[in-house]
């Protein structure tokens, strides 16, 4: 014991814990801070929509012909739309739909994609070939065409839009995780686990997965923005959420008819989409710098 304390280099001098170091890096990273503030505000808006919206009834099939096409003012922050509904209130409720879409899509696509990526990277050989070639095929399908096909065959609504996006989204996670696992397989700890008799399940989910978590969290954060965008694009084309549900994409689409004179009707929901996506992207970039991973 004495020899140990005498010679072993004293790494304890570094008194910061890893959590403190991560926080230090995060707090020195302006894009991470701004991004997390934006994302937080979007989440707050979505969760507390009934309290934040200035006119909650505008979220539904509300009609107020007196105030239709009113420009932005203190009463209607973002102006009103063609039937007199408050756009600000609809945007706040729209975030609910957007975030619901994000949670629904990523909640299915990420676990599915990650599991396939882990399996392909860990087992190799025929399993790797089958999974990765299938992934390649899925990636070769133009996403919008695929989504159009699915929502056209089923019927255009939120759930079917979600299914369409999910079917496309897992591929990116599979490829990301596959690449990381392939690199990790060269590390001795994987072989050490095999020598210790660990099961395939254990090695994949207990040994390899923790080493993918930082990359996954960065990817999820960056993905969230793109899912919102993709969902908005589908709604814009009339294949997503149907009126009167307040969806940002649908709002841009109906507002676009009144451009350029009544600019606020398309621009305000458009800016709301931009705001949310910017937030998620900044947060993702910040997390990437903080955790030092490549996605």
């Amino acid at each position: 014991m004495s020899s140990f304390s005498q010679f072993d280099d004293d790494r304890q001098a570094r008194s910061l814990t890893s959590r403190q170091m991560a926080w230090y890096r995060f707090s020195r990273n302006p894009s991470a801070l701004v991004g997390s503030a934006i994302v937080l505000s979007v989440f707050i808006a979505a969760v507390f929509a009934p309290y934040i919206a200035t006119s909650p009834q505008s979220a539904g099939a509300h009609v107020d012909f007196v105030n239709r096409h009113a420009p932005p003012s203190w009463e209607f922050l973002f102006g009103t739309d063609n039937v007199g509904r408050d756009i600000f209130s609809r945007v706040v409720y729209g975030y609910r739909i957007s975030l619901g879409l994000v949670v629904g899509v990523l909640g299915v696509a990420v676990p599915f994609g990650v599991t396939l990526g882990l399996a392909a990277g860990y087992f190799g050989g025929r399993i790797e070939f089958a999974i990765m070639r299938f992934t390649d095929i899925m990636l070769a399908i133009p996403p919008l065409a695929m989504a159009l096909a699915i929502t056209a065959v089923l019927s255009p609504n939120l759930i079917n839009a979600m299914i369409a996006i999910t079917l496309l989204w897992w591929t990116w996670h599979t490829r990301l995780i596959y690449r990381i696992v392939k690199a990790q397989m060269a590390e001795d700890y994987v072989e050490a686990a095999k020598v210790a008799g660990a099961s395939h399940f254990h090695i994949m989910f207990r040994e390899l997965l923790p080493n993918c978590v930082s990359a996954i969290s960065v990817k999820i954060s960056l993905d969230a923005g793109f899912v919102i965008l993709f969902g908005a694009a589908l709604s814009f084309l009339g294949l997503g959420v149907q009126p009167p549900t307040p969806d940002l994409g649908t709002m841009v689409s109906t507002g676009a008819e009144y451009l350029p004179e009544r600019w606020w009707e398309a621009l305000m929901p458009g800016l709301a989409i931009l705001y949310a996506i910017l937030g998620f992207n900044l947060l993702g970039d910040g997390l990437r710098d903080m955790m030092d991973v490549e996605v």
């Binding site: 170091m21 001795d188 050490a192």
Partner: protein, 566 residues
């Protein structure tokens, strides 16, 4: 001492990380005279590299900051020198040979192109210019100077086409292209096999003699220092703790740290050598007969097999219960493949391994087999999962050996105690531990299911020499306490001399010599064994005198050339 070419005085350097400032160098002063060879020694993290980088001006600032002191080169203060003037010194005044000969090259450019760039940009900095053919002529000359026989082909080659020794030679040539007055060598040859390393050291010594340049050698290997340096500075935790001529330092070290360093180097010959013996009388535990492992060599679009690599070829050996059996050899000799076959990770192409009474093929993969044999890897940074706590990692073998889950925490404390780590380390993650502590955790993991045999795959080569000794002592204690049998794989023959009771020397997949350690070292039969032993840098003249000698022709027959492309 002649007028110093490099004069560092009172250098303080600090780094700020995570808002905390820590001083890395404390009042470092050192001089390098004209034509002098000076070594800076110390363990990793002692500040050697920071010192070197402050000389060549590549410290990242921030986070680094030079708080005090001066670095004068030929009387000119470097720290306040303008960027252009300082750039002009690069390669022409001060040049450097970095540690890793592969990482130092750009893999996609030919050697000739990379060397030409060095000459061309030095010309630009100095405001001169030369014809391409003149530069080419100059490059060829320098390549011949470092004994590379066929400069034309070397220039056309890409870095990956050269062997490690040749790359190191090219790297030295590159540093010499613009005839520097001071050459800094950062761990030269350490990444190479010992026989190649020796050739590189001889080359560097010759170059210093011939060109009259000064050499600053940064290393942790005291044997190298003895062969290379006129004067020595010893560095510990950012301070120069001792300096003096080579004779002074080696014959009467004054500072405790230097003494410890000297003591920690395992002697190859002489009185200090420890003879290990196996007192148990149980008989053979592992029997290997006629073992072969072939790997197909594939290439091309369709992965066609074009040849076979006989990684392990007709190996026959017997390891007795209680042995510390050393398997030595250079990189690529097949020693790790052999070890992995003992663990059942590779199937044998031909031949058989018997452990105890059972053939390996019949028991591999069963829990009983795992309780028989376990492994400790070379690099604990890789063999421990960075994202799992010590307790998590120690519990894996226990869980899969069917250990009672409720008893696991107690067993983990017991294991940590066994390897001299406090029980609170159970909740720590690998990055919170030092290299030596990580290797203890790896040893504890191997011990967790009470195996009879532990394969040690270079368990100390990633560690500093002081920590190496602590780990070796620990292993020796565990062997006695737990009646273990060790299979010790290493390229470090001096360590093997003091740790193993029997050794086998592997050479190109075959065992060229085996026997009791003392016998093999006292009277090596195979020329390869003699070449290996003869190349080891030792600490004293007495040891050097006892090293076996080998004829140049014999040496050529067993070692691949580092001077010509084949």
């Amino acid at each position: 001492m002649s007028e110093p070419i490099l004069d560092i005085s009172g250098l303080d350097i600090s780094f700020s990380t995570y808002g905390q400032r820590s001083q890395i160098l404390h009042d470092v002063s050192m001089q390098v005279g004209k034509g002098e060879r000076v070594a800076l020694i110390g363990q990793s993290g002692s500040g050697k590299t920071v010192t070197m980088r402050s000389i060549i001006g590549t410290l990242p600032m921030p986070p680094a900051a030079i708080d005090r002191g001066s670095i004068r080169f030929e009387g000119v203060e470097l720290l306040t020198l303008g960027k252009r003037a300082r750039n002009r010194l690069k390669g022409t005044g001060i040049s450097i040979v970095l540690q890793d000969p592969l990482l130092s090259f750009n893999p996609v450019l030919s050697i000739g192109r990379q060397m030409d760039d060095v000459v061309r940009f030095a010309d630009v900095r100095l405001g001169t210019s030369r014809e391409k053919s003149a530069r080419r002529h100059h490059i060829f000359e320098v390549l011949r100077h470092v004994q590379l026989a066929d400069p034309e082909r070397i220039c056309q080659a890409y870095p990956m086409m050269l062997s490690g020794g040749m790359r190191q030679r090219v790297l030295i040539a590159m540093a010499l292209l613009n005839s520097p007055r001071l050459l800094i060598a950062d761990e030269p040859g350490t990444a190479l096999d010992v026989t190649t390393q020796q050739e590189i050291l001889i080359l560097l010594n010759r170059l210093v003699d011939e060109t009259g340049m000064s050499l600053m050698l940064i290393t942790h290997n005291l044997g190298v220092v003895r062969e290379m340096a006129d004067r020595v500075y010893v560095m510990e935790r950012g301070r120069i703790v001792e300096s003096g001529t080579r004779e002074e330092i080696f014959s009467q070290p004054k500072h405790d740290y230097t003494k410890n360093l000297m003591r920690a180097v395992p002697p190859l010959y002489g009185e200090g050598v420890k003879n290990v013996c196996n007192d148990t009388d149980v008989g053979p535990l592992i029997q290997i007969s006629g073992l072969c492992k072939d790997f197909p060599l594939r290439r091309g679009l369709f992965n066609r097999q074009y040849g076979t690599n006989h990684a392990v070829n007709d190996v026959t050996l017997t390891i007795d219960s209680g042995d510390v059996f050393g398997i030595a050899g250079e990189s690529g000799s097949g020693k790790t493949t052999l070890a992995k076959m003992m663990l059942g990770l590779f199937d044998a192409t031909r031949g058989e391994i018997t452990i105890g009474k059972d053939s390996l093929s019949s028991i591999a993969g069963t829990p009983e087999f795992r309780k028989l044999i376990q492994i400790v890897y070379q690099n604990p940074g890789s063999s421990l999962n960075p994202k799992r706590s010590v307790a998590d990692q120690l519990s894996v073998p226990l869980i899969f050996a069917g250990f009672d889950r409720a008893a696991i925490p107690a067993r983990i404390s017991q294991l940590l105690e066994l390897v001299d780590l406090p029980a609170r380390y159970a909740s720590m993650y690998p990055h919170e531990l030092s290299g030596g502590q990580k290797q203890r955790v790896a040893i504890a993991r191997a011990l967790s299911v009470d195996p009879k045999i532990i394969v040690l795959d270079e368990p100390t080569s990633a560690l500093d020499v002081l920590i190496q000794n602590v780990v070796i002592d620990l292993l020796q204690r565990l062997r006695e306490e737990l009646n273990l049998t060790f299979v010790f794989i290493s390229h470090d023959l001096s360590l093997m001399r003091n740790f193993c009771n029997r050794v086998a020397i592997m050479f190109r997949g075959e065992i060229c010599e085996q026997g009791a350690t003392a016998d093999v070292f006292a009277d090596p039969q195979h020329p390869y064994t003699r070449a290996l032993l003869g190349s080891i840098p030792v600490l004293t003249d007495e040891e050097a005198a006892q090293k076996p000698t080998i004829e140049a022709s014999e040496r050529q027959a067993v070692l691949s050339s580092t001077t010509t492309l084949n």
